[in-house]
């Protein structure tokens, strides 16, 4: 393929990725987890304080990498921070993944890179979670960067690639604890190549560079990023030890699962076919099937192979091992599909290239290409549907315990009432609900100075006279005798099947009605 044609097509694909990822980043209400991350980031933004929490929130890289975006777009004031600024971080990392494919040029044909890039840019899973302020898209970026640069380092034995691979590995661990599974899967894949393909020149000495002094570059770079991030830039050295202890905590959580236990086929079913109630059908089977062809291709013996078959086997075994591990772990959420799904996307590009090369007759090749492009268009259409139509609808398989759009009406009501209060944002707001029914309120009420959160009505102090009360349904029943007829109550949807009540003091409510006339 002509290099200029490749560059042009690659640029178009990159623009498509940005086109699906960047518009209306504030359309979807903030998820409970996004709000958690945002409030934690707010502490770093305003006070410069961050301490790694081994029990929750995952690694520090998301927060530190958000800082420059916040400084540029929102300043240092947490209340001025917006959803767009926050979600811009995963959106750009999600599109940046496509650029990383260029590292693989020596190991993949240009055609395979283009098809992989196209699938990365259009995949509903990749687009949906690129618009979601959690760690997953950063982990995907660092994982692909790590795999690509590790392979380059093993093949070229150049210190620069070892340094790059080590840096990506350090970032992976500083992003999410589950990176251990990814690192283990990569090591497992290399071991399989060494053990089961010992006679092949490409894989015979695959592990030898890891035993040379070059490994020091790798370990040094990984250690440096671990040290800097988990110690909060040397301000909280306990974070280093906590990062080790966290592995035990996450191991237990993975085995337990709690409210997030799903069957082993959860992810594969999501890829093949999903439909909830009267909602539309969702499928990324094109990627799954093409990836199988890509994996099969690595085992074909053809002297005309344009791809590095050892590399494809490396990706294939990585994908197989990580898919197995993530599927066998009872704890599952839709975004945990990403670390192994990116392997499938690379393989799918190779698979499509293989299918097209196998078509000898031009009319047959054209028909297959047309069908594949239609399939990719279908992925892009599903991405649009998932992000701009069903963005918070439980009939969307990637929507998981998401905040209802009705919740934004509650936020608006609070703002309308606060506008009537003499000191506006100093109006006292008491929230009485279990933490699972409280978020994302702390994010949306970040501009208010006097907001208190309690889990029980009995602990919330004086109720009478409070301008605005917000409560979960069970706490509403406890509040009823305390507020009697002195408040106007309304219900709002927090999530699918979860409601919140707002209670507005009658004098304020009457003033609100008066102002609306």
């Amino acid at each position: 393929m002509n290099r200029k044609v490749f560059a042009g097509l690659f640029l178009i694909i990159l623009l498509l990725a940005l086109f699906l990822r960047l518009p209306k980043l504030d359309l979807r209400p903030m998820h409970h987890d996004e709000a958690n991350q945002a409030v934690k980031f707010g502490n770093l933004l305003e006070k410069g304080e961050y301490q790694y929490d081994r029990f929750d929130h995952h690694g520090p890289s998301l927060y530190y990498l958000t800082l420059p975006f916040a400084w540029v777009f929102s300043g240092k004031d947490f209340s001025a921070l917006t959803e767009i600024t926050l979600r811009l971080v995963p959106a750009l990392f999600g599109a940046g993944l496509i650029l990383l494919l260029l590292i693989l040029k020596p190991h993949m044909s240009l055609k395979a890179i283009l098809f992989s890039a196209l699938l990365f840019s259009a995949s509903p899973i990749m687009v949906f979670f690129s618009r979601f302020y959690i760690q997953e898209m950063l982990l995907a970026f660092f994982t692909l960067g790590f795999m690509a640069s590790l392979w380059r380092s093993l093949r070229t034995q150049k210190p620069g690639w070892f340094l790059t691979a080590g840096s990506f590995a350090g970032f992976m661990f500083a992003t999410k604890e589950t990176s251990i599974i990814v690192l283990g899967s990569v090591l497992g894949s290399l071991l399989i190549l060494k053990i089961f393909f010992p006679s092949e020149s490409q894989t015979k000495n695959i592990l030898e560079p890891l035993l040379s002094y070059n490994i020091l570059y790798f370990l040094g770079a990984a250690f440096l990023f671990w040290l800097v991030f988990f110690s909060s830039f040397f301000h909280h050295m306990n974070g280093l030890w906590d990062s080790i202890l966290s592995l035990g905590i996450y191991f237990k959580r993975a085995g337990g699962g709690g409210a997030h236990i799903h069957p082993w086929y959860y992810y594969l079913k999501m890829l093949c076919f999903s439909q909830y109630g009267s909602g539309p059908v969702w499928s990324e089977a094109l990627v799954l099937v093409s990836a199988l062809f890509g994996g099969a291709y690595s085992f074909t013996r053809n002297s005309k192979n344009k791809e590095d078959s050892a590399f494809i086997r490396f990706v294939f075994f990585y994908t197989l091992i990580s898919t197995l591990i993530f599927s066998l772990i009872p704890y599952k959420t839709p975004w945990n599909i990403i670390p192994f799904y990116l392997g499938m996307l690379v393989l799918a590009g190779i698979g499509i290239s293989f299918i097209l090369d196998s078509c000898s007759r031009i009319w047959f090749k054209s028909t297959v290409l047309f069908l594949i492009l239609m399939g990719t268009f279908h992925l892009g259409w599903q991405s649009w549907r998932a992000n701009f139509k069903y963005y918070a609808d439980p009939r969307n398989p990637y929507v998981y315990a998401h905040t209802s759009t009705d919740f934004l009406n509650l936020v608006q009501r609070i703002k309308d009432i606060a506008a009537l209060w003499p000191e506006h944002k100093h109006m006292l707001i008491k929230v009485i609900a279990d933490p699972h029914e409280m978020w994302p309120l702390p994010w949306y009420l970040r501009g208010f100075e006097k907001v208190g959160y309690w889990t029980e009505t009995e602990k919330a102090g004086e109720i009478k006279g409070t301008p605005v009360l917000i409560s979960s349904v069970d706490q509403t029943q406890k509040l009823a005798p305390l507020i009697q007829d002195q408040y106007q109550s309304e219900f709002y949807g927090l999530r699918h099947e979860v409601l919140l009540s707002i209670h507005i003091r009658l004098d304020l409510w009457n003033q609100f009605l008066e102002n609306r006339r």
């Binding site: 409970h32 987890d33 958690n36 409030v39 934690k40 929490d53 929750d56 929130h57 409210a259 997030h260 909830y276 109630g277 009267s278 959420t333 609808d393 439980p394 998981y400 315990a401 209802s404 009705d406 929230v431 933490p435 699972h436 029914e437 409280m438 978020w439 309120l441 702390p442 006097k450 907001v451 208190g452 959160y453 309690w454 889990t455 349904v473 029943q477 106007q488 109550s489 309304e490 219900f491 709002y492 949807g493 999530r495 699918h496 099947e497 979860v498 409601l499 609100f512 009605l513 609306r516």
Partner: protein, 231 residues
């Protein structure tokens, strides 16, 4: 002499007023210095992991208590069964308008009619005038949700222009534009919402709603109207 006395008194009053005012102000200042702004430390939100994703229908009752007995005059009967239904949305998104009075109250898919977004109504023609003693409404009870601006009107006029009486209205901010109501919002359950029309005479029953806490659509599983024929 008198002038001097008046001038003296004037200066005396002036000095006295000044001293008293000063004393009062300093007293206020002293009191203010003794007071302080009460700083209330409010608890911060607790961080907690991803909540449970709910996809299964919730048929549990929210209150946990059954509704108590509701008394109606002897001879009261179900009037609405299989009576004609019209609507502001004659092309429902899901289901048929006949579902509203077909006697099926199941919360499952296939038993409810879905009307478009915004303010919508269904209207039941009882085909004769009755004294109404109970109206029961099931919007959608397979999950916890609240329907907005539920307004129930009855009339002898099919166009609801004259002789209209509102028997239930929980549109507390008049966002539906049908007048402000004092009835409370409620969470849908399998018991339905029982409205007491207090024997009002009517042939037509019209029920409004304006979306719900889950989406902007309007749903009806069943509406039952009970009453006695007008003698």
């Amino acid at each position: 002499m008198i002038k001097k006395i008046i001038l003296f008194l004037f200066i005396f009053i002036l000095v006295l007023s000044f001293s008293v005012t000063q004393g009062l102000f300093s007293q206020e200042e002293k009191e203010e210095q003794e007071k302080q702004v009460l700083e209330i430390e409010l608890p911060k939100p607790m961080f907690v992991g991803t909540p449970r994703n709910i996809r299964t229908p919730n048929l549990e009752k929210i209150t946990g208590k059954m509704r108590g007995p509701f008394y109606v005059p002897k001879g009261t009967e179900l009037l609405s069964l299989e009576k004609p239904v019209t609507s502001s949305d004659m092309m429902p998104i899901i289901g048929e308008l006949e579902y509203v009075t077909d006697g099926e109250k199941s919360g499952e898919a296939g038993y409810y009619v879905e009307l478009g977004p915004g303010l919508q109504y269904v209207q039941i023609d009882l085909e004769a005038s009755y004294n109404l003693h109970a109206i029961l409404v099931w919007h959608y009870h397979s999950q916890a949700r609240v329907y907005r601006d539920v307004v129930v009107m009855v009339s002898e006029d099919p166009d609801f222009i004259s002789d209209v009486q509102t028997v239930f209205n929980n549109d507390h901010d008049n966002s539906a534009g049908l007048g402000m109501g004092r009835d409370k919002e409620y969470i849908e359950t399998n018991e339905g919402n029982l409205i007491d029309p207090r024997g009002v005479k009517a042939r037509y029953v019209r029920l409004y709603s304006r979306g719900n806490t889950s989406n902007d659509m309007n749903h009806y599983v069943e509406v039952e109207v009970y009453g006695i024929e007008v003698k």
